[in-house]
Symmetry: C2
Subunit: 143 residues, 2 copies
DNA sequence: TCTAAACTTGACCATTTTGGTCAGGTATGT
DNA sequence: ACATACCTGACCAAAATGGTCAAGTTTAGA
C-alpha cells in the first residue's frame, strides 16, 4: 500500500503554487525548479488538475497557472481524484467477474475494505490546501 | 494508492483459517479451493506468515496450518507487516538522497504524509482477526 | 517400509503500473 | 515576429505485481 508520486507531486506543486500565487500566474518552470519535479511530468499533472477545475491556465508570455478556487475549498480528495490517485482496496466493486462475487465464500473481508476506504477518504476530505499552507507558515515562524 | 492483493489474500486466508481451525490443522489446498487463491501463491504468503509467528505449520499427512496466537492478538498491522504490505507515503525517510531532503523547499508536505500514515496505521492496529470473524458470524445470523 | 499428502524453497516470468522523456505542436504578451 | 509558456500524445525503461514451475523434504498412516 503506497501513495504514488503523481499524487504526491500534485500536492507539492499546488502548495507551491498557492504560496506564490499572489498577483502573477506561476509558471510550471518555476515550480519545476523549486520542487525538483520534471517539467514534462508537471505538465501531465497540471493538465489533469485543469480538467478538474482545480487550476486555471493563462497562456502566452508571462503566463502560467493560478488556483481556480480558494485554497480552503480545495480538499486533498479533490486533488487525488484529479490525478487518478484513488484509494482502491478491493476489485469486486468495479469488476463483478473478479474478486469476491460469484464465489461461495464471497466477501468474507468485504466490510473491512469498505471501512478502510472510508477511514482514509475521511482524512482526505477534511484536509484542505489551506491547512497545508498554514502548516508551512507556522514552520517558518517557528524555525 | 491501493492495497496489493498479497495483503488482501493474507487477510482472507487467515480469516478462513481462523474459522476452520478448531481441532485439525487446515491445509493450504482447502483454503486455496475455498478462497480461489492459487496454491503456489498461498505458499509464498504463508511462508512469510510463519516467519512472523502468525501461523504454525504441521507437516506430513493431514498436516496444515494453525494460528499461533489467539485471533484477538493478531492485528491487521501484524498481518500486513508480515507480507511486506507497508503504508508508504514518502520516500525521504528511507532514502536521504531522494525526496525532500537536501532541497531548498524541503518537506513542504512532509507533515501531511506523516499524519496520513499514522491515520491509516491506527486503523490497522485496532482491527484484529477476531473482529473480522465476529463480523462474519453476524452476517451469517442476519443473512 | 512405502507412499501420498502436505509443507518448503527458490528460480522464473508475463503483464501492468510507474515515472517519466521526447517531439512536436498552439496561444499570446511585448 | 519571437520568446515564453501551455498543450498533446506517443513512447519507453525499470520496478512491482501476481503469479507459475520444478524440485525438493517431512511425516502419518497403510
Amino acid at each position: 500500500m503506497k501513495l504514488t508520486s503523481k499524487g504526491r507531486y500534485a500536492v507539492m506543486a499546488l502548495v507551491d503554487l498557492a504560496r506564490f500565487d499572489n498577483i502573477n500566474p506561476v509558471s510550471l518552470r518555476d515550480i519545476s525548479l523549486r520542487q525538483g519535479i520534471s517539467l514534462d511530468y508537471l505538465e501531465q499533472i497540471f493538465s489533469k488538475l485543469k480538467k478538474n477545475h482545480i487550476v486555471k491556465s493563462i497562456r502566452g508570455n508571462q503566463g502560467g497557472y493560478v488556483l481556480s478556487k480558494n485554497p480552503n475549498d480545495i480538499k486533498l480528495t479533490n486533488i487525488f481524484h484529479a490525478v487518478d490517485e484513488k484509494v482502491k482496496t478491493v476489485q469486486c466493486k468495479k469488476d463483478s467477474k473478479k474478486g469476491c462475487n460469484g464465489r461461495a465464500t464471497k466477501c468474507i473481508t468485504h466490510n473491512l475494505w469498505d471501512e478502510l476506504e472510508n477511514h482514509i477518504n475521511s482524512f482526505f476530505e477534511k484536509k484542505s490546501l489551506e491547512d497545508l499552507i498554514q502548516n508551512k507558515k507556522e514552520n517558518r515562524i517557528n524555525g
